[in-house]
Symmetry: C2
């Protein structure tokens, strides 16, 4: 049977995330030091708390938490995230908050609400590859905007806004995936002003905000343009990926459509999981984030030290103030995608930067390292292996 | 700010499920006897088992169940549903099974994989309204096929297959939502043969299968055409809606695309929830289904008895052999959508049948009753109230 003729055009061009492909290899080879996925350190996952959280949630909220729920989300969790939003200069009430099936659930849902075939979306360069795949699934015309270390360049952004009607600007302003970069407050304000001037929406994908190890918190882009910004965050990195709880704030008319379409996408997000998250946030959340930041900050320092010590000449990298990623750039002649097989054979995994550009040739000589997943005492060995592969290239 | 101009065309025509709207009214008025949603009886939800299941799952599978997971699903749950599938004459291995975020998650995902704008989809008449809304969100051309009490009429189906290229046939063959009807084996085979003859796919939405109170189980449509059928089921009614675990089986090339696109939709379904479900299935699942069927079967009998006793002349209804729904048809002049407000004021809620037809005028004089949700000792009172409203219409 020929299945291809039955597929939609988006299915014909769909591909696996590079992580999905790498994951199987990494899982089968525990000796590989994996800097590839932005996966939490298994040692920080509070699994031992889950039985007690489950008992608390059932005692406090009753049976109805395992019943059908409403698309907007479980009210106690919508209330519990308000202090997190407030830290980001986002003023909201529980009525403005939506709990989604992960931040990715909200991103896809918003894409469905906003995108018709051919609509133009502006993204950072580099940007989060899975978001681009999602926008392409709605047949959007995705275009990159040139960036410096502070994020989108206002002149480049304005030039593209002048050139064509734009549906929205997609930003990851804090400890960006993949670059680790953070957009300073002044630049956030400039981008928001341009969005106002050209009457376009902003999607602000901000899942790493609480993972700041040094420096000052920056206000959310949302705070400069609440009437046109869809703010997305998540508890995947701050509690557990498998609770699948994203939280978002957006203008009421957009939220109304998001909730309508969510009824066809997955009906509602588990309010059992949301009740566990609400109980977790009500407990020792601040202490938990403190210990999370301590763990990751130490791993970041270890990786920085190892890079300094072992990287061959011609390689540069940033020191991010938080998040999970370091962006490494090498000599022009290097092809990190071509080197990945050899790296895996040598016992180290990373993500080639080509995954994060519309034109894979753009990221040829760069790669993304995450210091979050491997045990801290394996980081230096992983960097040594990487250095060896790059040295011999 | 004018938000409308920023919406996709699907968002402009999106609407709330009638249940979402009714739910808020029902929740605020506990005196209303609600026959509206197909929501499980709260008394059968095994919430008290969740703390122990959580402990068991963590002990057995370790911390990794709260970490990121793979799009196909958690292997122990994929294995645990194989006996359920076997009962339905579906031969599969864990490699063929996919765990989705509810059956609705799989249905939307499959829609995304198969549907381009303008593709024709054939559905039963009446059919599940939320599925139609999802297909319309992918800009499908949805057409009804005439049905009798055994489901789609083969002649009517063939006439529509001859008329135009069709992407897939969407069927709910067992205790259909909304009609409660079941398609007998012979009709299932005929529909499968027609799908083969015209080389179209079938989506078989089969979430009520295990809720059979009398009569014989019918083999899944999948078993007659495994090369072209996407079989969807769920643990929402058989365990708890909030575990959000659907399970599905489909041809490998389709599964491959579904898993690719799922990475953009919600990345993966919580393997914490999947681990709870696997533990539940490994435990006293058969005994649980037995007691579930006993509870619902008794409620069905109570509702049948009350309808017989109180319904005014001119009303007819089926006696389904399982599931959650009874379909009630009245005199031609009756308009059940127009009567809903009065019914709610009288203290009873139902779903007007107009929600389940492409042309709302078609279901004008019918309505869907679910006997699952209200306590059994409130069913007669609810039916009396309904009879009063209909009598006075």
């Amino acid at each position: 049977m020929d299945y291809k003729q039955h597929f939609s055009s988006r299915a014909l061009t769909a591909k696996n995330s590079p992580i999905t492909t790498l994951f199987k290899i990494i899982q089968a080879n525990p000796d590989i030091v994996s800097f590839a996925p932005g996966t939490p350190d298994p040692s920080v996952l509070p699994a031992e708390k889950f039985p007690a959280l489950t008992q608390q949630a059932i005692d406090k909220y009753g049976k109805s938490i395992i019943q059908y729920g409403m698309p907007q989300g479980f009210e106690p969790l919508r209330k519990a995230v308000l202090p997190l939003l407030k830290k980001r200069s986002i003023t909201a009430t529980a009525d403005n908050v939506h709990i989604s099936t992960g931040a990715s659930g909200a991103l896809n849902n918003v894409g469905m609400v906003l995108l018709d075939a051919g609509d133009t979306v502006l993204v950072e360069s580099p940007t989060y590859n899975q978001a681009v795949s999602d926008f392409l699934a709605y047949e959007a015309n995705v275009q990159e905007v040139a960036c410096d270390e502070d994020g989108m360049l206002p002149d480049a952004l304005e030039a593209q806004l002048q050139k064509q009607p734009v549906k929205f600007i997609y930003l990851l302003p804090t400890f960006q995936n993949p670059s680790g970069r953070t957009m300073p407050a002044a630049r956030r304000k400039q981008v928001a002003e341009l969005a106002k001037k050209y009457d376009v929406l902003i999607i602000e994908d901000d899942v790493y905000y609480d993972l700041r190890y040094t420096g000052e918190h920056q206000p959310a882009v949302y705070s400069y343009a609440p009437e046109r910004t869809i703010y997305l965050s998540s508890l995947s990195k701050m509690f557990a990926p498998a609770v699948r709880c994203g939280y978002s704030v957006m203008p009421e008319p957009i939220l109304e459509k998001v909730l309508m379409l969510k009824q066809y996408i997955d009906m509602f997000t588990s309010q059992f999981n949301q009740a566990l998250a609400a109980e977790f946030l009500a407990g020792e959340y601040d202490a938990f984030i403190g210990s999370l930041c301590k763990t990751y900050s130490s791993k970041l320092a270890t990786m920085q030290q190892a890079l300094k010590q072992h990287m061959p000449a011609g390689y540069t990298w940033d020191k991010p103030e938080g998040g999970l990623f370091i962006w490494l750039t090498g000599p022009k002649a290097i092809d990190t995608a071509a080197l990945l097989d050899k790296a895996i054979q040598t016992g180290v995994a990373y993500l080639p930067a080509s995954a994060f550009f519309l034109d894979p040739a753009e990221g040829k000589n760069a790669l993304r390292l995450s210091f979050a997943f491997p045990p801290e005492d394996r980081i230096e060995e992983g960097v040594k292996r990487l250095a060896r592969v790059l040295q011999e290239a």
